[in-house]
């Protein structure tokens, strides 16, 4: 165990974690030239397409330092706020962390929040000033910031470039010298923490764990403490670029277990694995419960596919511990799931993964935060969906979640950011100059105003020079009303939204206009109405489509036309029929696009 080091790479988004991981893997010859590609650990198609890490990824490396062989377990983590739960679980499997700071950008909001996560778990922090190759790098200034933040020795900061491979040897040296080897006792009863899992359709569920005490061997009879279920360890091994089976995985190491588990429900991230014969006394402390920020309904496009979708959600949940859901029914959409997400990116990723990895076509309904509604009798109702809102006559008052938002930006953007936050019902709490040009602003504002398009707006008004972190601070009373949408006179619950009363009229009008744009014309007229209670506040009409036929269809037109109609039909598959009106997915998100 003296020769094991477990560490993760943490940073603000895009500060170069995955690229640095590439160099470490290369330098330690864990992967060869042929296997190498940019951000090799981002192996999900979606990660590659979007250029961001979504999942933490563990991989083991061998490294010989001063004649001694070391085993280094690296975990690359995502930087986006929505995936901070991935970071927190990775941290639990490590004794140290490389904290990267982009030399051209300096300390950003998630640099701070991820650092705190690591410090709470007593990780040894190795500060790395990354991307020093960039022409815009400000090494001395950013080092000042890091010293201020960490209270570390200036000489302890390693200057590096993941892209150019600068400082890699120094980083490896620091990992070995500064990060303590794992503590633990090989001879004690087995105690291993499950921190991730993956569904594999051939081999059942693969469990990723960190072994704290004892040894797990192939063929052992093991037990999951929380569920009480027992299994035979069919295969254990370590994580290289691919999984490599081993006879055993010992205390201090990170490994995987395959034991023919078929049901997703049996695996809980945070559960402890032990031996049936010689169990450990206590389970390892699991993970804090995830607090979803946004809720939305996820429905199969075809009502008959509800069970398939449930199956897919269970499997996806294995690999996305931050996803929570329960069954809900909608008048308009039938059976589906009310899901909790950590943010809008998380929602988008879940939807995409359901489609790509599990072949599900889904409709997501208008996202909402969680409201607390107090009725006239003093009872509290938890409202995650507009449809759960009690009748207005029975409501005493509504409370909505507020957050504390921390924004780090350049001082020139203070004005526009202030305006944006005020528009979003925010209250400026304080403003601190970090340096002459960099300022930290703290706001309190309703989560519902922040969670949807705030981040995009913030980025555009600050030309990218603003980073944001936020946390829930509690519930406050707000004057909220439910805005309903009616299509041809029928209320479509999946299109309802809970909005602030002062804006309800304007929203209703704009929402109708937006829906008119988004709902394709059909063979009959469609009336779109917005209503608060029984009062109609806005109306738009989509005229009937009288003609749907192209003029020409000769030689070359045939396949062009076929492809066009095929594409349109595929698009239709993404539409959900409500009554006799076909509604495209974008329509459910229209609420978010209102200016």
């Amino acid at each position: 165990m003296e020769h094991i080091r477990n560490f993760c790479i943490i940073a603000h988004i895009d500060h170069g974690k995955s690229t640095l991981a590439d160099r470490l893997l290369e330098f330690t010859k864990t992967i060869n030239q042929r296997q190498m590609q940019d951000q090799v650990l981002d192996d999900m198609e979606l990660e590659k397409e979007r250029g961001i890490t979504i999942k933490s990824h563990a991989i083991q490396m061998d490294y010989t330092y001063e004649g001694k062989k070391y085993v280094l377990n690296l975990i690359d983590t995502p930087g986006h706020v929505d995936f901070s739960y991935e970071v927190s679980r990775s941290i639990a499997a490590c004794e140290g962390a490389l904290l990267l700071v982009d030399a051209s950008q300096g300390i950003q909001a998630q640099t701070i929040s991820n650092l705190y996560l690591a410090l709470e778990n007593n990780l040894e922090i190795i500060p790395v000033l990354n991307k020093i190759d960039l022409p815009g790098a400000m090494p001395e200034e950013v080092k000042d910031q890091m010293v201020d933040l960490l209270g570390c020795d200036r000489n302890g900061i390693i200057a590096a470039s993941g892209k150019e491979g600068i400082g890699i040897d120094l980083i490896l040296e620091a990992i070995i010298k500064r990060i303590p080897p794992p503590k633990g006792d090989k001879n004690a009863p087995l105690q291993a923490l499950i921190f991730d899992s993956v569904f594999n359709s051939f081999r059942g569920i693969e469990v990723i764990f960190r072994c704290y005490n004892g040894v797990i061997r192939k063929g052992d009879k093991v037990k999951f403490v929380a569920t009480g279920k027992e299994y035979i360890a069919d295969e254990v091994g370590i994580l290289r670029l691919n999984k490599e089976p081993r006879e055993m995985v010992e205390a201090g190491d990170v490994g995987y277990l395959i034991s023919g588990i078929k049901s997703a429900k049996e695996v809980k991230v945070g559960d402890t694995i032990t031996h049936v014969a010689n169990p450990c006394e206590k389970a390892i402390k699991g993970f804090a419960e995830v607090k979803p920020m946004v809720f939305a309904g996820v429905y199969p496009v075809d009502t008959s596919e509800f069970e398939d979708l449930r199956d897919a959600m269970e499997k996806l949940q294995l690999n996305d511990a931050a996803l929570v859901w329960e069954v809900e029914t909608s008048m308009a959409l039938g059976y589906g799931f009310r899901c909790g997400f950590l943010g809008m990116l998380h929602l988008e990723i879940v939807q995409e993964r359901l489609e790509r990895e599990f072949n599900q076509t889904v409709i997501t309904t208008v996202p909402s935060v969680q409201f607390w509604v107090f009725d006239t009798k003093g009872n509290k109702h938890i409202v995650n969906a507009p449809s759960e809102m009690p009748d207005p006559s029975k409501i005493d008052h509504v409370e909505e979640p507020f957050i504390k938002a921390q924004i780090i930006t350049k001082s020139e953007f203070i004005g526009p950011i202030m305006k944006l936050c005020m528009d979003k019902r925010g209250i400026l709490k304080n403003q601190t100059y970090l340096t002459a040009e960099r300022v930290e602003m703290n706001f309190e504002m309703p989560l519902s105003e922040m969670v949807f398009d705030f981040f995009d707006k913030l980025k555009s008004i600050s030309r990218g020079y603003a980073s944001l972190d936020y946390e829930l601070i509690g519930y406050r009373e707000s004057n909220m009303v439910k805005l309903d949408i009616l299509l041809n006179g029928d209320r479509v619950d999946a299109l309802s939204a809970i909005v602030h009363r002062d804006r309800a009229y304007e929203w209703g009008k704009k929402l109708c206009e937006k829906l008119k744009e988004l709902i394709p014309r059909q063979q009959f007229e469609i009336a779109i109405q917005a209503a608060i209670g029984s009062k109609i506040i806005a109306r738009e009409t989509i005229s009937a489509l009288r003609k749907d036929v192209l003029a020409k269809c000769y030689g070359g037109d045939i396949s062009r036309k076929r492809k066009l109609l095929e594409k349109q039909k595929k698009g239709k598959k993404r539409m959900r029929q409500v009554g006799n009106v076909e509604i495209p997915q974008e329509a459910f998100m229209a609420v978010l696009k209102i200016e």
Partner: protein, 378 residues
Amino acid sequence: MALAGLYIHIPFCSVACHYCDFHFSTSLHSIDALVECIAEEMFLQKNYLPSPEIETVYLGGGTPSLLKKHHMDVLFNAIHKNFKLLPQAEITLEANPDDITKEKLSLWKNYDINRLSIGVQSFHDDELKYLNRIHTSKQNYQSVGMAQDAGFQNISIDLIYGIPLEKNHNKLQQSLRSALELNVQHISAYCLTIEPDTVFGRWLHSGKISAADDTFQAEQFVLIQNTLLQQHYEQYEISNYAKPHYISKHNSNYWLDRPYLGVGPSAHSYNLHSRQYNIANNELYIRQVKQHIIPAQIELCTNTSKYNDYILTRLRTKWGIDANEITKKFGIHFELINKKKIEEFMSEKMISFDENVYRLTKEGMLIADHITRAFFIV
């Protein structure tokens, strides 16, 4: 053995019509070289079709009526050298009214051209101008008359409807009357559609014109349908009407899954197994053919794509969808997989069922694409 068609694309026009997104160039300097290359391409592609026997030839474009005698010689020599033109072959040439002269007509007769498709489009000068056509309504009458006098007994005219100059249908009614007076064998009536890469497309984008009113267009479609059916034209395809025995064989081949070879820039070919697209660029076309390269991209047909093609083409025609034929050809049980939709469209009277064949009704034709999509497999 399915008989084949030959399509020759002449990619030149004297001016660009505002609605047109065919491939053509208005600079005529490379016309000689290009015609030579089309002849060469016929040689390169002579084995493309299942058999060298050709039942129909269609000179389209662009504007083939602007070809000179020496161009026609080059093309027809190549046709005869590389293919076997059947004695009764239908040979069509697309002509613009302003190109038609006595000399041209007798020239065309020399090559056994026996069908003319004349682009009259409208009988109103303001509409013609709006479309940027360079002929007048008067030239329409004259050109068709001359062609008839020259002995052409199979003449088709093109009409464009849905032109938004007026809100009523008076002009279309007049145009239809004029068309009927001409007593032609075949009428193609196309709805004005605004394609992105055209003058109209750019105007629509910039807001200079507004999108078509589909109710107006639908009414005009019905008006044309009623008028022509009454005059004993048969609507054998959504946009095509013919007197008995005068349906276009060449175009029908496209809809009846028969092979065709298209030569010239942007031409398409189909040999029952694959579809092939020639490059839509005159310079590159010439360069490649000169190097004896067939300037085409190939796309293999799959069983599903062929099934979808069948639905798409057959539904538009009087031949309709034959469920047994589908089962035989593609192993797909049309009625089984579309049971609900068939019932729905039948009850809405959008399709009819007669002697084992599903066809669009008159109302159904207006939403042909909607029904096609419904039956597609994607």
